[in-house]
């Protein structure tokens, strides 16, 4: 695999928390390479550090040691301001509890990340509408989050995650709060984003059925990463 094809490159990543004089190593000298266009699932017991790892890759947190390269950029060395810029331009976030702003409508929530980009207001609105169309919510643009079902809320969140066309989408248990049917719809949507739009996705999940949708599954346990198996049907 050529260097350009590697989107995510972690080397010797260690994350240690200090708590009450004790140091707690969550991730220990961890290596990970993910090619562009991968749909990866991250599994492991509760407390194993999945979210911690995802946050490091997404530029929300910094490792105690090791290097993190995303699309050729060493993000572990970036300042807070540069890291924020990196997140806004290169990462799409999908959270377990959707994290939509309750005071904004669906389309406004999707517009939110674009407020930080040099995009004119009318263009922002147009892009947000397009993103909502991609997730099949063109008829819910002006609904507030409380007027939407959980599955619909998560689709708005996905539209928000793709609106600035990021190279990477991170999802922390995106189906954790959803019933089976809504979860399947969300997973199908993520698959489409991966396959049709070529988005690289890392998804933390406890659900084997969800992991089965991914092209590759990594297991995290006791600070170590294991590539267990290639995912389900489209490895």
């Amino acid at each position: 695999m050529s260097k350009e094809d590697i989107l995510i490159d972690l080397r010797g990543v260690t994350k240690t928390y200090e708590r009450g004089g004790e140091s707690l190593t969550i991730l220990e000298s961890l290596d990970l390479e993910l090619p562009r266009g991968t749909f990866a699932a991250l599994m492991g017991p509760s407390g194993s550090g999945k979210s911690t790892l995802l946050n490091l890759i997404a530029g929300l947190d910094k490792p105690t040691a090791g290097s993190i390269e995303i699309a050729g950029q060493r993000i572990d060395r970036l300042s807070e301001a540069k890291l924020a810029k990196f997140r806004s331009s290169s990462v799409g976030f999908i959270f377990q509890s959707y994290n939509l702003l309750p005071v904004l409508t669906a389309v406004e929530n999707v517009e939110l990340p674009l407020l930080l980009a040099p995009v004119a207001a009318s263009e922002r609105r147009k892009r947000a509408q397009t993103a909502l169309r991609v997730v099949g919510l063109e008829d819910r643009m002006d609904h507030y989050p409380r007027q939407l079902s959980g599955g619909q809320e998560q689709r708005v969140a996905i539209a928000r995650a793709i609106v600035n066309d990021p190279v990477l989408i991170v999802a922390d248990e995106p189906t954790g709060d959803l019933d089976r049917k809504s979860a399947d719809e969300i997973l199908k949507l993520m698959e489409t984003l991966n396959r049709e739009l070529g988005k690289t996705i890392i998804m933390v999940t406890h659900d084997p059925a969800a992991a089965a949708r991914a092209g590759v599954v990594h297991h995290l346990d006791k600070g170590r990463l294991q590539r267990k198996a290639d995912g389900g049907e489209h490895a």
Partner: protein
């Protein structure tokens, strides 16, 4: 949507809380403005005092009288154009014994010196021709329902009289400007003097003189006092402004108390705003963390919080002023001017106080938001997001 409209949306998040806060700020502002208006009305008279008038009183205290012959000596001094004198009568009408109004026993030249209180020439002549005549202000006439020709009997502890003091109203004076008292009662000093026992006669309360040239007011005052320097009773001459300010100084404790209450009210307003902003920030921690994840910077969040507080303060302040203007100018002001004109000749909301109130509401709102804004900016993104799940 813009960053500004996003900030504005947050004000509508909890409409009940926002409304209550606005109302709280508005009530504080109305109270503040009322206090400022009272203080301004109280001290207002002194600010409009004539610059070419001197008041000469007993050197020790305003309450002690001067010998009557002093008036002739003052009138004879160079620079003095005209002089008059009065005694404080301190009476009340037993039929209206809850109405306070000032009465003065004055020399007949009074209205020549106090030109801002005007009496029609024919009425003035009628007053001068009647030994027991009286001239009253138009506000007093209105409040008491008195008119020319009415007979009035007053009682006073300063000059006791078994039969009381009987007067006939002969004229009603008007004031040339709103700041001038329209509620006083004037009568002939001679009538008072002749009704007193021998030993109390020929004493005058104070002398008011008009000088030739307002630029020389201070020098004329010094000359008057020097003229009595080696007499038994020495004098103190002050320009009218200083005299009135000194009279008001007797109330300075009250004015200080009003200032202290004003500050306390501003403090309460700050606490109301601070509480609302802090609550809003605390319950939005996860939203702030989400925004940070999406790439918003700490300063974005800080400005959101400060902007929200500023807008809240401004709106509350504007609402308060909106309530205060009709309340003070329309209702209270008119009532007090008509009924208590002797204490509050002009009870009007000072424009400066409105500006001050609005600036305080804005400034204190932002001040109250400084700490919440800091904690919003310092949200630990990963911890806040973890707690969310």
């Amino acid at each position: 949507m813009t960053l500004t409209s996003l900030a504005a949306r947050n004000l509508l998040r909890n409409k009940v809380r926002t409304s209550l806060t606005l109302l709280g700020v508005a009530v504080a502002v109305v109270t503040f403005l009322l206090l400022r208006t009272v203080v301004a009305a109280w001290t207002g008279g002194a600010e409009f005092a004539a610059k070419d008038r001197l008041v000469t009183r007993h050197k020790v205290t305003f309450v002690m009288p001067l010998p009557k012959r002093y008036i002739d000596e003052i009138r004879a001094l160079p620079g003095v154009k005209a002089a008059t004198f009065c005694n404080w009568f301190g009476g009340k009408d037993p039929k209206h014994d809850r109405e306070f109004f000032a009465q003065f026993a004055c020399d007949d030249g009074y209205f020549d010196v106090m030109t801002e209180q005007q009496v029609a020439p024919a009425d003035l002549a009628a007053y001068k021709a009647d030994r027991t005549g009286a001239v009253i202000g138009e506000s007093l006439a209105h409040v008491m329902g008195w008119k020319v020709g009415d007979e009035v009997k007053l009682e006073t502890g300063i000059y006791p009289s078994d039969s009381g003091w009987a007067f006939t109203i002969r004229a009603i004076y008007k004031a040339t400007s709103r700041n001038v008292d329209k509620s006083s009662f004037f009568f002939h000093w001679d009538y008072l003097n002749q009704g007193l026992p021998e030993g109390r006669r020929d004493a005058i309360g104070w002398v008011t003189s008009r000088v030739d040239d307002p630029a020389h007011t201070a020098e004329v005052g010094v000359a008057i006092d020097r003229a009595f320097d080696d007499k038994d009773t020495q004098t103190l001459s002050q320009d009218e402004h200083t005299f009135q300010a000194g009279f008001l100084a007797g109330f300075s404790a009250v004015l200080y108390a009003f200032d202290a209450i004003s500050i306390a009210i501003l403090l309460v307003m700050t606490l109301i705003l601070g509480n609302t902003i802090a609550m809003g920030v605390r319950e939005r921690t996860s939203e702030f963390a989400t925004m940070r994840a999406l790439g918003f910077m700490p300063q974005h969040l800080r400005w959101f919080v400060l902007g929200e507080a500023g807008v809240l303060g401004l709106l509350g302040g504007a609402l308060g002023i909106g309530i205060a203007i009709p309340l003070i100018q329309g209702l209270l002001g008119r009532f007090l001017e008509e009924n208590m004109g002797n204490i509050f000749p002009v009870f009007r909301l000072p424009f400066g106080a409105c500006v001050l109130a609005l600036s305080c509401a804005l400034g204190l709102g932002i001040l109250a938001a400084l700490l919440p804004a800091r904690s919003a900016a310092r949200v630990n993104v990963t911890d806040a997001l973890r707690k969310l799940v």
